[in-house]
Symmetry: D2
Subunit: 324 residues, 4 copies
């Protein structure tokens, strides 16, 4: 049975470039943790470094988690929301910025250790470029790789899950797709460095996430973490799971099982104008529905159908199996 | 209760630019009609002019339809598969080609009358352009409009449903989106000229088809015909309905009902490597499932939810209503 | 000769949902106006209502404009950056919000009159929806139409340019494409209501902007305003003109001339990490280069090429005409 | 100085799924070779196995090439246009088909050897899938990898350039992106197996081709071949180079030089309605223009600009350097 978790910030305020003050009000962190704990099935949270947790608050946050029976699934270092990171972090053209980013990451390792969190989820969203002809791609990609390696090599007790995304906030990200990221992971060559799939990021990249899972697992068991959401296909709309697509989630669940993934199913959404807790809850219930209907017998039926590849039969089976 | 139909050619061979001889074998037309009649729920067929029906074969085809209890829902003039149409038909730069296209269209009107077919479904797929700076857009768009008007004005007994598509086979089509096409329809200003929505064409255009239905119906009851299929979002993959998306079909059914559409639900797919009959059947069953579950009571519940616009509630309702 | 203008805010700070405090520092408004005036070719500015100008500051701003020899090209009512507009303005489900939006728009009319600004550029970015099945599309689209009509009918001395955009901040905008917007403009039926094209919004909608210009001008001279920028095709990246595409801008200039557009060429960009003034300047220089090279003789050559439609000849001509 | 080549079939007929008989007439192969030789700068051709060359015609074709002073740059095995390949070749679910595909590939190796052609350009266009849940992805991807390895291991004298493409003719290709393909190349682990970039395929995948070049070259000098064309971004429109985009081609040339690529610049287009020879010629002239303007001094200026990353300066430099 998969374990569900949520990125704590999903329950808080949301903003965009047009309404920078935000669409909602932010409850205090205590309240957010309480809400997370109340969602049926949630056993863990991901915390954004600096926002949700710092060296100074780690004990207090640890106590709160314990009180609510929640695990800290991952720390997500804040490599994106600070002005100093605006033109990049671990791969920034500016040497002093790169140095700050490495130091900041090491601080996050310390926080993770203190709160017994096994994973840093690294999303270097500001590392990339916007215009053609604006980056020494050899050099900057190498800095990113070397700096991740430098931090991870000194923290073999922590897993580093690199999260890819084709664009936003940069028009081109250095970690853009599952396979690009796996290539860098293999160059880094450390057991504790792998990949995080965010389903919506993969949709924007044109990936069938089922196949991304297969690639990451076949080429070295490198799928470390999963973020779930849905979108309309061309942008990271960060919507409730199942609100746009259906059969692809069945394929995701199928390959997560088949490939031996034993990590968390974490919700990563951005409910701009929705109740955050309700949006997360609806997503988890959707995935739980797929899990329930796709029981062991149905899973085996599906395996046979996929091997035969008769799409008419498979589509009829899907409709009859899942819909009323 | 909606009436289902199918474009006859969907049951036959399929090809593409790489495998131009086709992926399958073509059964004779008699066999295709028999297959169409056997699909549970199908009461009509659409015939492609020249391919499926000509002035010479109209009686024979009429008899076959009668034998199988099928109506001829529409004639689709072949404005796309002949070498002479390669650079356009009703809007071609070449005056002789435009004249031929008008004459050909008039021939299709005659065929439709003879077989008691109420509708010409006009898809001017070759009318458009591929490169920037390659078309006198004012002139060519005007030719298209005037030539459709000229044919339709002389055939007030026949309905002309203009089918839009953003691209393919041209990189830019003159009838590209629902609203573009409606604008031309309003300029033409004839009661018997309206629009055909192909769901997949609309997805590629970035449309929420529910909204396209509303626009066409609100601005003059101009939705004349519906083609159903699914795709992955960026191209007209012409797949089985429901094989990629789900909730948007609920919205389509909702607005077809609300807006008083009383035309056909016609299947338009391109089962390259699938059994054609099976693919059509699976699509119809998917839509019938949506129709059945969204009964009168559920339809009213949905209306209330849409007016309130609480997406968490609506997504929970969708999951509980449709899934096991 | 076209007149160039700039949206004043382009020169200021920029933020996004990840770095909401912004990538740069905001100079005071006086400084922004000075910068605008210094850009070679700029003769006007667009001001965002509330941000840049209010009833209270209109005299002061007017003096500053006069001092710098700048016209106020348009007022852009702020229908997007206030918390109360988060779920819509003129089409909001909430009646009190719609009323506030109408009143706010009337205030903007007053400001425009006081500063002798001829145009309100209406971008109702929050009017739309995010999820399928979340909006009574008939009702909400009607509110939008009626409220725009109500305001515009009482201000026949002011032109209302409706700016469309397929998505962002909503996943689906009610004013999404050129033709959708023109349909609503025609339903409104007032001489002083037309359309603003933002080139990048059109790219995301899959439009060839040259054709959008033709459609708007042919069906009633309804192109009221132009915003220029470039992007990578799938999102409103708001980049320097010419940084991604080239020949399509030649087509835009061609059709602006041919269709008798005599409005402003206004720059609308979002230089997240660039010097704002420099980005605007580079865009204007790019367009001025196209204007200069496409002189009267070259314009006529191009007209002939477009009518002939031989893409090989046209591409050779483009290369030889524009490149060194 | 780069050497230019062309895929011979580009000069012949073109068709699509709607006009399967083709838009043009096919000249005989002798005529096509003559045309290729006449294009200024062309020194080589790529031949499609079975279409252009077979074991039986290899001597005759060899003589013709010699007569025209053309090299055979690559053989492209026809893994796409035969009915037996409709559901896959080297990864087909059917074991007999996989065996046939391996044998056919070995035949192509023999042809290449006989005509002194150094490279097989492998585009397994039919290897992939169309629907979710239709493929045992682990097994089928493994078959593809093992079968390529099996053929390549026995032909160390021939280079195998694997050409990726996100979709078409399958909705999902197994070799979809640069990084996916490189991963498989690295798993295969043979010196004579690398990657071919088709620029348009990369655009559809959302890649900045400059970065794809860097990735392939940095992670093992695996860029074996280059196909050039342009498109509108969402589909493989196979258009004349430079007809849509501009600065990205400057970046491509820059990184081809920097990364030490010494292979061919081959034209791969699909001039549906254009004169084939003229389209290829226009593409080569566009690239030659970029090569000429970006001379050694300008190349160094650009290097400095890219390292500094000031997009305003770089865009001004681009305009001043390349445009009149």
């Amino acid at each position: 049975m998969p374990k569900y978790s949520v990125i704590l910030g999903n329950l808080g305020n949301t903003c965009d470039r047009f309404l920078s003050s935000g669409y909602k009000d932010v409850p205090p962190m205590k309240e957010l943790l309480k809400q997370a704990a109340e969602i049926d099935g949630v056993e863990g949270v991901e915390l954004v470094g600096t926002w949700d947790i710092t060296v100074d608050t780690v004990d207090e946050v640890g106590s709160l988690l314990q009180k609510h029976g929640l695990e800290c699934v991952s720390i997500i270092p804040d490599l994106f929301s600070q002005k100093r990171w605006g033109k990049g972090t671990l791969s920034a053209k500016d040497a002093a910025t790169r140095k700050q980013a490495v130091e900041y990451m090491r601080g996050c390792v310390e926080i993770a250790r203190k709160i017994n969190c096994p994973t840093l989820n690294i999303w270097p969203g500001q590392d990339g470029y916007d215009y053609y002809l604006s980056s020494d791609l050899v050099q900057e990609r190498r800095w990113l790789q070397e700096n991740i390696r430098a931090v991870a090599a000194q923290a073999p007790d922590i897993r580093f899950a690199l999260e890819y995304k084709p664009k936003e906030p940069r028009n081109f990200s250095f970690l853009a797709r599952a396979a690009d990221t796996l290539l860098m992971v293999k160059e880094i060559g450390l057991d504790n460095v792998g990949v995080c799939i965010d389903t919506g990021h993969g949709f924007v990249a044109g990936e069938n996430i089922g196949e991304s899972i297969v690639i990451l697992q076949q080429y070295g068991k490198k799928l470390f973490h999963m973020h779930f959401n849905d979108n309309h296909g061309s942008w990271d709309d960060d919507m409730i799971v199942g609100s746009v697509h259906f059969p692809l989630y069945v394929e995701i669940i199928y390959w997560l099982r088949e490939s031996g993934y034993d990590g968390w199913y974490s919700m990563d959404q951005y409910p701009y104008r929705e109740d955050g807790k309700g949006a997360i809850e609806a997503s988890i219930r959707f995935l739980q529905m797929v899990e329930r209907v796709l029981d062991a017998r149905k899973h085996e039926e599906l395996k046979t159908l996929m091997r035969e590849g008769d799409n008419v039969r498979t589509q009829n089976w899907l409709r009859e199996t899942f819909f009323k």
